[in-house]
Symmetry: D3
Subunit: 249 residues, 6 copies
């Protein structure tokens, strides 16, 4: 099968990292392709960039020049999932949701270690809306923005480990979720370090996408994710309407 991994931000290097992370544990016959939105922010640091991404990601998946059997949305805590599910007939897996679903099968309580404090209430609210308020015992921020994660890898690892240990010792976490699509590569070393399962949501989403593909199930088209009725959408897609051209940006 072919999975389209969608980076929510416009940083191509991060798309490449996400494709690499998605490929690590993919099945042998799974092909991973990545896509970068044609417009938007280089790093998502709150609702403004997140909502831009939601629209740009809908554009990216509907204008993608190629076939794919499932989508993995690789932004942690980003909106847009419901729109993509309406637009497509293939399964749409989201790293925020899939990482938690997998965590629920591995431990009674989990914590998220994320980038900046701004995302703490956002992620808390997402998991509360999923009914996981009691199982998600804490969301902890390292204080490093998504674009700073790669600047000093050693420092990033230390901060992740510090917050993960506090989550385990003080909050009762039994599983750690990496709360950023850009933290993909850090899972196994951190797991060895802190002694509990550590989940990279991209892996969780890829495996769920593979599961749906094997089972032959996809988004229900009955109500919430029914296909949009045809309407003339002014200036859409943005890029082909004369808008920003990703090749020029």
């Amino acid at each position: 099968m072919r999975i389209l991994v969608v980076n929510p931000n416009t940083t191509e290097a991060m798309t490449d990292s996400m494709v690499a992370a998605a490929s690590r544990y993919a099945a042998p016959d799974t092909e991973i392709v990545g896509v970068t939105p044609p417009w938007g922010a280089p790093g998502i640091e709150g609702s403004f960039e997140g909502l831009l991404s939601a629209a740009a990601v809908m554009e990216a998946v509907t204008t993608f020049p190629g076939r794919f059997d499932a989508v993995v949305m690789a932004g942690f805590g980003e909106p847009g999932r419901e729109g993509v599910r309406e637009l497509l007939d293939v399964p749409v897996m989201d790293i925020t949701e899939c990482s938690a679903l997998l965590a629920c099968t591995l431990g009674a309580r989990f914590s998220v270690v994320t980038t900046i404090r701004h995302f703490v209430p956002i992620i808390e609210d997402i998991y509360a809306a999923m009914g996981l308020e009691r199982r998600c015992v804490s969301v902890r921020a390292t204080g490093l923005s998504v674009l700073e994660l790669e600047q000093d890898i050693g420092h990033t690892k230390r901060r992740l480990a510090e917050e993960a240990r506090r989550a385990i010792d003080e909050d009762g976490a039994e599983v750690i979720i990496l709360g950023c699509g850009g933290l993909g590569g850090f899972d196994k070393e951190l797991e060895a370090d802190v002694g509990v399962p550590v989940i990279d949501g991209i892996v969780a989403a890829v495996k769920m996408a593979e599961a749906c593909d094997a089972y032959g199930v996809s988004s229900s088209k009955v109500n919430s994710y029914a296909s949009p009725r045809p309407q003339h959408i002014t200036g859409w897609p943005v890029a082909s309407a004369g808008g920003p051209n990703p090749g020029e940006a």
Copy 2:
């Protein structure tokens, strides 16, 4: 004060109706101005159009050529509010939220009467996320899309009254919320008909905006609605980046 009423869809006539609805009960010294997003769908019928609107509305409010003291977001059940709160320093009131807040002061239970069935779980989820799951005893759909509401006014009124009465008799509703920004004018006649308070969210949002302005309070800038850090946003705003020009569309 000056309130900017933001229509989520691109139908100018509906912007005019919303401005009219917002003006009905505004204070004498409140000026209402409307804005139509520069791109997007003529009517919002689900998450796809709603998420487009979120981005286009963020563009509309940040590129609006004029001063305003508060924003009223006039899409019922639409996303985008958090992004607009981050981008602006003035109060941002949303008709979905404000109609429920007002309803809570008038009755122990309320119901929403909305357009199409697609919005039922969306609105249920919004009010559940607000903690109002038990107070919002039902969300009922008339089956009329936003663009059909004005086609046969008599039929629209009858369907609203039918569903409102069922909500009162069968579900225990004590207040009715009109679940669409395009239902503004129907409140008082329906209220007289069914005998419980009927709330048009645009009015509720205008009054909340006036309250904030008088009291001198606005969105907290401490965490969730902190202003975005400066980043170069590729192709943003869409219109001035060479994207769809609302004048030409």
Copy 3:
């Protein structure tokens, strides 16, 4: 319009303060009148005094010698609201409820700073019953009783600021609610001090009352707040039944 502000305790000086607080941000054509219950406690420090107040306040509003268009109940965390809504046809706004409704439009999380520890679980329970358990991240007590608040204004301000800062830094509050009807005057200085919106519930309730009056909506009379059926109430109202005469007390 004319708003009747009801002090829950029998301390006339506090009624005067509440009227002053209510008048600060009222619309030009809003007249504020105050009423002190004819019997009860000089300061409400728990459920005993609160429940006395509920009865005495119902007496105060039904025997008030004058017209009014709305009621503002100025006791924070006090019961009685539902009874007053049954008895009257005008809107009845409560500072506990209205301060939280306004807070919800300004930030994703709020905290309450109140008087004594006894009110902490009471206020927690009220907001949990409103569905706001997750948004009300803490209720913090200064340890000062309502009657001590005015004794050393400097000390009161310092204690408010200390607890507000802890709420912001440790609990994640983005808005602060003043959790006592006697804290009216402290909002703007505290807001300047701690950097997040600070809400005096009396202001919030006055603005909501004005909103209802302008919109022409009031308590639903369908079920929960239906007018009581006529019954002979023994010894009621208490004062005219030969009970305590507020003029003599």
Copy 4:
């Protein structure tokens, strides 16, 4: 031990019925005494009468001329319990709470059959505040007011049985709670009729009071139910302050 059963309304005949109901299953060495509030409504039909009762009941228990070891509050869905717990050192059991606690040990789901529709949301809210929203699958009203229950006993029994059967068949109830202090005598015949346990809250509260007395535990005095600090309460108690004299009423 000696249990003081407190009727919330002023109808002496109902106090007698409640004493009889309380005595039916009391332990041999338990003495039941009743008290009627010195003022208030002959029948409680909503929040107005309920809140009057809360104050009058606090007066009744604190001025009762005699010793007692526990209190049973016999109004279903009435407020006032927290105030009585503050005022007294003995256990205070409430029929609304105790009937549900007992029901929880007998079945996975229960329903309440009560008097008039007005109490439906009130009782729903009480059980939701207790965390029993899912276990209390329905609150059903017979449409008979408390004062009508005794007028046509056969009709009352039929209506109770009809609603109880619907609760079992349609709502999944496994236990029925009689939702009115005046329904005491109807439990065993209804239980034989519908085939599930039927609980009279007065019995449940008497047995819980006996349990506390035997175990030597009473209300915690640490925070929520700490004794009120001494204050001069104007016009309190109402009766001795020259207010309504129950002997004259």
Copy 5:
């Protein structure tokens, strides 16, 4: 009446202690008899031993050679209650549930002090499933396993008091529940020490069983606790099927 107290573990000495604890506050005409499961673990330290106990306890109560009028299940946090309720027609009281029900009538918030950390999430989840998540403000572990409790009584008392005090001071507990069937004798001394009611669940369950017996109510047989349909259960009961013989073990 005759109450069968069921120890979940196979340690006979602990059965004796539980019988003693159950007898302390039982009514004069209540006879307490104990039973030890015919197979299982000497001390229950997690779900493995707990689930073994559930099966062995079902065997113990159905093969018990004697009459009884009610069952008290004396394992704190152990499963098995629903099965025992299906199998028997008499009331089945569980110390985990009954201690919390009693606590709810004595204070607005309670905490549990238990043995080892492993039980903390288990007990949290049980009370959350009962709807008591907000009232159970903390579950605190002493770190002493059930079999260590009796080794150094002074140390056990000190650890209980330390954790109880923290629960009161830091978590807002107003009542303390002893979170282990083996902590029966420690209630009154701890209560005198920390100044809030302390509940031994065995006492609570015995008093609830007496209440049901006096009232003549037992488990509803309508749905959740309906008697199992006759089936041939292979190798059941385990002991008589040639399995472990408690006399030989």
Copy 6:
């Protein structure tokens, strides 16, 4: 990898069916082996048989004569999962949990169609404990016991389709979960019939087990699922202790 599928009941033919269902969508390199508990009930119809199964399944997995890399527990709504997770180091997937996790990625609301009414509150409670109370909009019973499902396949299919359609039309379900381990083969035909995704939990659990195996994650051993401390368990395992011998049964 090798997955051990555990039938909760003693009917060998059903174990075979479960192995077949598990094999349908397994990866090419996944080997499915089944195990039947050595003692217990031929069909699980409530908590009694379910709790027996929990113990017998713990025995089956710990005495299984062969290697396996993951466990799939194939009883819908059965307990025992936590004990098996403590006892093993490999991932333990449960069809009740995994079917819901998968359903959550495919639709906003799901319903369960199960066997007999007895399981309705049990399944409701399981999903409520998972936080999915709002997403699981109904649990519907066909009235057919697990052993009757195979007796008249046509009738079983009709009843499944009837209840699934009601769930979709009346309850708002967007996905259907087959609520019994014995309903494995009915998914795809029902899906074609009713037009929404239909999930067989065994498939969901197999795919989750494969995902964990590929990713190299398993149950956290930090707290809830820590391995039991060594204790002498009397009469355990039951079969080798001289108890029922599955070969003889």
